[in-house]
């Protein structure tokens, strides 16, 4: 389909918006179940006698698990489109089936992992299972809907030569990778170890000693989402949204030409310089890692012997 410039920009804006929503919700979804980076501490806690009421959603890493739901949604959508369903309906049903399958994987990982920690007396809380799993399914539905919608736009309107499941899978992997690298930074250390000094790093003695109590009552995974929705989720959303926008913007304006390539390279260069400036600023503001007094003492003792 050939579009004029205004329409192309509208499509691009729509894709950017969908990607922003997908990125944001993906990060929150991974936090509902303590997936990815924070998962290791949740897994470790019962071993250190820190039993907890946090969901242990170990459906592998975020790129793989989101790829799973996106490709499932893509396949179901393709089948429905082939059966002459209205596109929006096809995408919604595809995303719904994918999200439910994703939820099934989530229940098995929580139940399986807790059952494998029997010797530490970690109980399997069925209320956690009942009200956290629907939240996971709901979040994943939104993510999957946005990703399959982007894949549909690329395939049908922009005329990409790849199939919808293929594009959806690539977007699923991308959203997982960005959620893992951008979003986790604002959750892993901070929320589980919020009773320690900010940015103190995690030494071995603290392993598994996660915060298990909330402002009122015991902390569950849903409390973590509330925390992450303030910064981690939106940051991830902007990350993926900008990725989609900047990777498509040059070709939308200039078409598939060398000018577009050059603009792409310039965008990359500007971003690299900006990243470096931020890094230098952070290093100047916070300096190198400061050793604890105890650590210094241990090093001094080691040197004297």
């Amino acid at each position: 389909m050939v579009l004029d410039l205004t329409m192309s920009m509208a499509i691009l804006a729509l894709m950017g918006a969908l990607a922003t929503i997908a990125g944001c919700i993906e990060d929150l979804e991974s936090d509902v179940g303590s997936q990815s980076n924070p998962n290791s501490q949740v897994q470790l806690a019962p071993q250190m006698n820190f039993l907890h009421r946090i969901y242990n959603k170990a459906i592998s890493g975020e790129p793989i698990s989101n790829g799973l739901s996106a490709v499932t949604g893509g396949v179901v959508t393709t089948v429905l489109l082939n059966a002459r369903f209205y596109p929006l309906m096809a995408i919604v049903i595809g995303a719904l089936i994918a999200a439910v399958i994703y939820g099934i994987f989530a229940t098995t990982s929580y139940a399986g992992r807790v059952a494998s920690q029997a010797r530490f007396k970690q109980p399997l809380y069925m209320d956690i299972m009942r009200y956290t799993t629907p939240s996971i399914i709901g979040h994943n539905f939104i993510v999957c809907f946005c990703l399959v919608a982007i894949a549909y736009i690329q395939y049908v309107i922009l005329g990409y030569p790849f199939t919808i499941p293929f594009l959806a899978l690539i977007w699923g992997i991308s959203v997982g990778a960005i959620g893992s690298s951008v979003g986790d930074v604002h959750y892993g250390g901070e929320r589980e170890f919020q009773n320690r000094e900010f940015g103190c790093g995690l030494n071995t003695a603290l392993s598994g000693r996660i915060v298990r109590k909330a402002e009122s009552g015991l902390r569950t995974s849903l409390d973590n989402v509330w925390f992450c929705a303030k910064f981690g989720g939106p940051a991830t959303g902007i990350g993926l949204g900008l990725t989609v926008f900047f990777s498509s913007w040059p070709t939308t304006i200039w078409g598939y030409t060398w000018t577009a390539m050059l603009v792409g390279v310039i965008i990359l260069a500007v971003m690299t310089i900006m990243n470096r400036l931020v890094e230098i600023q952070v290093k100047n503001a916070y300096g190198p890692y400061k050793e604890d007094k105890e650590e210094k003492g241990a090093v001094a003792v080691a040197h004297t012997h």
Binding site: S40, Q43, M48, N49, F50, L51, H52, R53, A58, I59, S60, G61, I64, S65, G67, L68, V71, T72, G74, V75, V76, T78, V79, N82, A83, I97, I101, I104, F105, T108, S109, A111, G112, R113, V114, A115, S116, Q117, A118, R119, F120, K121, Q122, P123, L124, Y125, M126, D127, F162, T163, I164, P165, F166, L169, R212, L218
Partner: protein, 257 residues
């Protein structure tokens, strides 16, 4: 725990290979059998992943699953495509190719990277072979046959269903151990979960087969759902008996910490 009787790896390997090949060879007459064969291979593969990943490969479990299907898809395409005059030999050539690739990668991991995992070579060979059977089995359930040029390319590759076979098949194989990771992991629970994840993949293949094959897709879908319910229920029975306690709600039990 060693006092619990486990099914031996060799028996599961035979179950996977024989079940997988029978399913694949029946698939031209009854496409659903391809998916049933693939479930046998998933159960075998999950056990192989379990044995190799027990050596402390925490985050490595998903990688093992992905590499398995990566090796499997290359071997499956090579095996099915190379025997054009004699398509019936395809699955066996693919199985042998996958075993060779797995053996070479396992040998490299063991002797070049020096990972020092005693079962590495055997398990890599096994998971690659299981990966190839998973790819061919599920593809045959969607394509209606394992004929590469006439069935698989137009029905499985051109429609993009191959990506689902690859990705969901890998999840089916790696998820059971990943989800049961922990010191009290038990083989029985893991195998039931492998059946459950294999059946979920079968359901997705059934949906895809609705598009490519029509009626036999309905059979795959319905049978997949029934199998999933059975295996999922069995898995939960094991969870109820294995877990320290299953409670409706409650406070955290008192411990020394």
């Amino acid at each position: 725990m060693s006092d619990i009787k486990e099914i031996s790896p060799t028996n599961l390997m035979l179950f996977g290979i024989i079940g997988g090949l029978i399913g694949i060879y029946i698939s031209p007459y009854f496409p659903t059998a391809g998916a049933l064969g693939a479930i046998c291979a998933v159960i075998w593969g999950a056990e192989a992943v379990r044995r190799v990943a027990k050596y402390g490969l925490g985050t490595g479990v998903p990688s093992i699953g992905q590499i398995a299907l990566g090796m499997g898809v290359i071997a499956a395409m090579f095996g099915l495509a190379i025997v054009k005059p004699l398509p019936i030999a395809g699955p066996i050539v693919a199985l042998i190719t996958a075993s060779v690739i797995g053996f070479v990668i396992g040998w490299f991991a063991q002797h070049v990277i020096k990972m020092k995992i005693p079962v590495m070579i055997r398990c890599m060979t096994e998971i690659a072979a299981a990966g190839a059977l998973i790819i061919i089995g599920y593809s045959a359930a969607v394509g209606g046959n394992y004929d590469f040029v006439r069935n698989l390319i137009p029905r499985v590759f051109d429609t993009g269903v191959m990506l689902a076979v690859f990705w969901v098949g890998a999840m089916a194989m790696l998820h059971p151990f990943n989800a049961c990771l922990g010191p009290d992991e038990k083989q029985k629970r893991l195998l039931y979960l492998a059946g459950s994840t294999g059946a979920i993949t079968m359901v997705i293949m059934g949906v895809a087969a609705l598009m490519t094959l029509g009626v036999s897709g309905v059979i795959t879908l319905a049978l997949g759902i029934i199998l999933w319910v059975i295996f999922y229920k069995k898995f939960w029975d094991e969870v109820y008996s294995d877990a320290a306690s299953v409670v409706g709600t409650g406070l955290i039990p008192k411990t020394e910490a």
